[in-house]
Symmetry: C2
Subunit: 213 residues, 2 copies
């Protein structure tokens, strides 16, 4: 088994980006690409790209470059996209529904199995053929189903409580959209999407541009 | 005027996070905080925190630490959150609606003024008292209104075309949710929220944890 434990978070964060560009090339029928070409498209230096991919044994050949299809597949394998992940979404307002649609649309291995809410008006609603369940039934659902990822699109005030239930129920990863930082045990992976952080840094750069004029 | 142009992107990305924690402390009635306490809460080292805040002249006092309210305000000012931003959303499916709700809910200075879609079933729909307009009217809307930020929640295939119209119409920033990297001129700021990148790195770490067991 490959030992990835020393690969930095920064490298791992770049891999999905490489894969996205390779996916585009693949769709356009491009067979192979050099690290210089990748550099122009992806925006990192060619040496950065070679270094990143060398972490995984590299897949390039001197004078040929990278085979697009093969590199795309191999990055997918490294990321674990060659398998299925069962997911539940807790909080089924617009954002929860958007994510349910999004993963379905992308026909990926990320499968939304259950959706949960506390709001009686949403319970029973069908989103992509999945009925929204009462949040009170989450524990028993998790006990009966082997769920890999819990997605939190619930409000800030309940997010930690939801997290605790998901962890107790055996999920291995939490994808959090609530605007707060959650506590999870070491064996559970947490990824946050903090939308306001992104918007606030956008505001900063808008002002910096304006001030420099 | 302060010259921020040499402050790294990494620092700017951390500021909204500091501010989020300070907001929590402020709400809990905490008056002051040391860089050591901030370190425990935020998760960066105390020296990192002092260094980050020194970029902006620092706001701490030896032996006292930081005044929570004042640091919160000052980070907000640095980020430009002491002013209003007019925004349009292009693409008003679940994700666009979620973002419209989100910014409203947060009562921030980010104001959604217009929403646009190509789908006749969505045009005319009211989201938070804002009627969804025909995308074909975007150009004339932008000519008549001074819009700061364009939010792209439209599909991948139309995202660059939408971007070009927004830029042509004078926006200063683009907040992009389409799963692709867009081209914008240097005077326009672009921030991407690539949801699939985040999900894919989550998958990676789930597998790494599993393999290490």
């Amino acid at each position: 088994m490959r030992d990835d434990s020393k690969i930095s978070d920064a490298v791992i964060k770049r891999l999905p980006r490489y894969r996205r560009y390779l996916e585009d090339m693949r769709r356009r029928g491009v067979d192979r690409v050099s690290s210089n070409e990748l550099s122009r498209i992806v925006g990192y230096t060619a040496s950065q790209i070679r270094q990143d991919l060398n972490n995984f044994g590299g897949f390039g050949q001197q004078g040929y470059g990278y085979n697009v299809e093969s590199l795309y597949e191999q990055i997918g394998n490294i990321l674990g996209l060659n398998q299925e992940y069962k997911m539940v979404i807790v909080g089924t307002g617009n954002l929860g529904q958007a994510i349910a649609n999004y993963t379905r649309y992308n026909k990926s291995g990320f499968i939304v199995c259950g959706m949960f809410d506390v709001n009686p008006e949403l319970i029973g609603l069908r989103v992509n053929e999945i009925a929204v369940r009462d949040y009170e039934t989450l524990n028993s659902y998790l006990a009966e189903n082997d769920i890999d990822i819990g997605i939190i699109t619930a409000g800030k005030d309940s997010a930690q409580e939801v997290t605790d239930r998901l962890v107790e129920g055996g999920v291995r990863g939490i994808w959090n959209f609530a605007p707060m930082d959650l506590s999870v045990p070491a064996h559970v992976v947490l990824r946050n999407v903090h939308l306001s952080d992104s918007l606030h840094s956008l505001a900063y750069y808008i002002n910096r541009n304006k001030n420099q004029k």
